[in-house]
């Protein structure tokens, strides 16, 4: 592999890791194993980089590799599976596309969207940020968060849902503003 190809590959990892992880998760891969599967897709891509047709979209090629990896998960022994349910993954895969452009969180604009989301997170009030971090960084359940913040679990779920919606709207707004510039 020549240095130019390697450089291209590194650039592609930076550009596509966020979207690829979203895509992998959207196929029903267990949250704990999302990075594992996405990394495997990058490694397969790296080992087959010479087969890549440079006129094609690298992101779509990566998603195709990841999709095949997830399809293979269904054939594995139950203890080694990285998906949460065969049947669920079955229907999610059926709705995905290996070649077409994926939209939103799973496609080629994913990194831009992620960066917009990070900007939105920065603007959150401290308590909201703590709540979100407890959920997404510490991986606490609504029950655990309720105990930590002296709230009841339904209130936690509602608060998280509200914040998710607000962040999503903020992200979309930032994307639209960026597109208008």
């Amino acid at each position: 592999m020549n240095p130019g190809d390697r450089e291209l590959f590194i650039q592609q990892v930076r550009e596509h890791h966020a979207g690829l992880r979203g895509f992998v998760r959207s196929l029903g891969v267990d949250p704990l194993w999302v990075d594992d599967v996405a990394q495997e897709a990058f490694i397969v891509a790296y080992n087959r980089l010479e087969e890549f047709d440079h006129s094609r979209d690298f992101g779509a090629w990566l998603r195709g590799i990841a999709r095949n990896l997830v399809i293979n998960e269904r054939r594995k022994d139950a203890r080694r599976k990285r998906i949460i349910s065969d049947n669920l993954t079955e229907v999610l895969i059926a709705s995905s596309s290996a070649t077409d452009e994926e939209e939103d969180e799973m496609g080629d604009l994913a990194l831009v969207r992620l960066n917009a989301l990070k900007e939105c997170v920065k603007g959150l009030p401290e308590k909201s940020l703590k709540l979100l971090k407890s959920r997404y960084e510490d991986d606490n359940s609504a029950q655990d968060i309720a105990e930590e913040f002296s709230m009841n679990p339904p209130a936690v779920r509602k608060a998280l849902e509200r914040m998710r919606t607000a962040l999503r709207e903020c992200m979309e707004e930032k994307m639209q503003m960026a597109a208008a510039v």
Partner: protein, 547 residues
């Protein structure tokens, strides 16, 4: 022409796990067109889920699963979707969701978007899911699969260039003001290394008679540059560590525990020292070394505990859902904190504890994540020249080195020689020519560690000079640089990795009469001037006394 399968035939294929991609597409289309058919499919899938759970579980499990499923069946679909989003849904719950998706195909795409968005929230809010963490982990795996692939070097350079925090982000006030000289740059000036030896490593003696209420349980013995502690607890100015929760924001710190074991932690890390000197690694990378004469170490991390400490064992607790344990030297036992499942590990084996499933999974030996901690724990520091400290288990190869590079292998972590060893004569305090010599006897007493240095010429065939200066944190008691003695000491001093290069290089040593060697007065620093004269690497074996 092949007849179109009926809905019933397609469903049978699905239930028997035999549908192909076309079957699924047709099935999905028919379910979308016919809600009645979609309901039948969903009911059958749900029943299959129940059936498989009942078969997989025992009699009591069956009852529990049935009860759980009954409760799940009463949940509104939004709650079930919520459980799928956070990854906590059971098989039955997933099947309920599948049933909903069959009936409402438009919900399918929304679920995929929601799942991807959940992943985004994790990436935006969790450090362990950050771009840097992902790329470093990918780099590690790439290294494991390709060993010395350019990918790693390329990536490292880019990360250093693009992602390293700006110097002005360092919070000066939080740096523990140790009195020693921790920096590496000061010792890289190339002066005679003897004068610098004490500056590169700083030993802090245990202080057990502290005036304060809590006794010292450990002491910092070494640190890398850039160590920053955050949180309320930090080591004392003299390096003493008492019980408490420690947040190491950056840098690598090595501590000697009261038991005599050594624990090295790489930031960002959170670890706890208990009143009984036990340690719990909440987050980050940790390496524990237990010497032959120590009392051992009590070490735990998220979801796992070390039941039998190996001589050198690593913990990687950077991930939220898993913790990895890796044995570098000796044999060790790892147990899940919950459930009591244990695994015996031998040298160069690794296991991952999956916290959600409460199970131990074998994973490939991949020490790359521990390279920074290992650089500090290996007991040797570079003062001059291009030096690479190889990870344990790295085989010596005649095709590995870069021009002008010195590779350092810790061949044998610790051993008690069973007979006197013949080593080469070295003049202490001044450079002398490394040449054939009568040798001298090193008495077999005390615990030793052996290092193998491999020096590569700068220009093939031209004999370009390589100079290096290395400081060891234990006194050097023997140096073997002649080819014959290297070969004869392989079996008694080296390890399996020492033998690989024999066949390709008869003149392994640096005893051609062109090279020079200097051991400092305090026997801690070794300077080598290697004038090459060939295309092959030359080797030097260094023995240090551990006690």
């Amino acid at each position: 022409m092949k007849p179109e399968p009926t809905g019933s035939e397609l469903l049978q294929r699905l239930l028997h796990g035999e549908p192909d991609r076309d079957d699924l597409d047709v099935l999905a289309a028919r379910a979308a067109e016919d809600p009645g058919f979609a309901r039948v499919v969903a009911d059958e899938l749900a029943f299959s889920g129940l059936l498989s759970e009942a078969i997989r579980g025992g009699a009591s499990d069956e009852g529990r699963a049935f009860e759980t499923n009954l409760l799940s069946a009463a949940l509104p679909v939004e709650d079930l979707l919520g459980r799928v989003r956070d990854g906590s849904a059971t098989t039955y719950e997933c099947d309920q969701v599948v049933k909903h998706l069959w009936e409402s195909p438009e919900a399918l795409m929304q679920l995929r978007r929601d799942l991807a968005m959940e992943e985004f929230f994790h990436e935006a809010l969790s450090e362990s899911k950050s771009e840097v963490a992902f790329i470093q982990s990918l780099e590690t795996r790439m290294w494991a699969e390709t060993r010395r692939d350019h990918f790693v070097d390329d990536f490292t350079k880019r990360l250093e260039r693009e992602l390293a925090p700006a110097a002005d982000e360092v919070e000066e006030g939080k740096i523990v003001p140790f009195t020693g000289n921790w920096g590496r740059t000061a010792v890289q000036m190339g002066a005679v290394a003897a004068a610098l030896a004490l500056g590169s490593f700083f030993a802090v003696q245990m202080m057990v008679d502290r005036i304060s209420s809590k006794p010292a349980l450990a002491a910092v013995v070494k640190t890398s540059s850039g160590v920053i502690w955050s949180g309320d607890t930090a080591p004392g100015r003299d390096g003493t560590i008492k019980s408490g929760l420690y947040h190491l924001s950056s840098g690598v710190v090595s501590m000697r525990m009261a038991s005599g074991s050594e624990l090295t932690v790489e930031g960002p890390a959170v670890f706890e020292v208990g009143d009984d000197a036990s340690t719990f690694v909440h987050e980050g990378i940790a390496l524990a070394r237990v010497s032959a004469t120590d009392l051992g170490i009590s070490l735990k991390s998220k979801g796992l505990s070390i039941s039998e400490p190996a001589r050198l064992i690593g913990i990687d607790a950077r991930s939220e859902g898993t913790t990895e344990a890796i044995v570098f030297n000796g044999d060790g036992g790892i147990c899940l904190t919950e459930g009591g499942k244990c695994r015996e590990l031998s040298e160069f084996e690794a296991v991952k504890a999956d916290h959600v499933r409460e199970r131990l999974v074998d994973v490939p030996y991949n020490p790359k994540a521990f390279s920074n901690a290992w650089a500090l724990l290996s007991g040797v520091e570079n003062n001059l020249g291009s030096v690479r400290i190889e990870m344990p288990g790295t085989e010596i190869s005649s095709e590995q080195g870069k021009e002008g590079e010195v590779q350092i292998y810790v061949e044998n972590e610790s051993f008690l020689p069973d007979r006197d060893l013949e080593v080469d004569q070295v003049v202490v305090g001044e450079f002398s020519v490394a040449e054939a010599n009568p040798g001298q006897q090193l008495q077999a007493k005390g615990e030793l560690r052996s290092y193998l240095l491999q020096l590569w010429p700068t220009e093939a065939g031209e004999g370009g000079e390589v100079e290096t200066s290395l400081t060891f944190d234990h006194p050097v008691v023997g140096v073997i640089y002649s080819s014959d003695r290297l070969v004869s000491s392989d079996s008694s001093v080296g390890s399996s990795i020492s033998h690989a290069v024999d066949a390709v290089n008869d003149n392994r040593g640096m005893d051609s009469g062109n090279d020079e060697i200097l051991l400092s007065q305090d026997r801690r620093t070794l300077n080598l001037r290697f004038k090459g004269g060939g295309t092959q690497a030359e080797q030097v074996r260094v023995l240090v006394a551990l006690n």
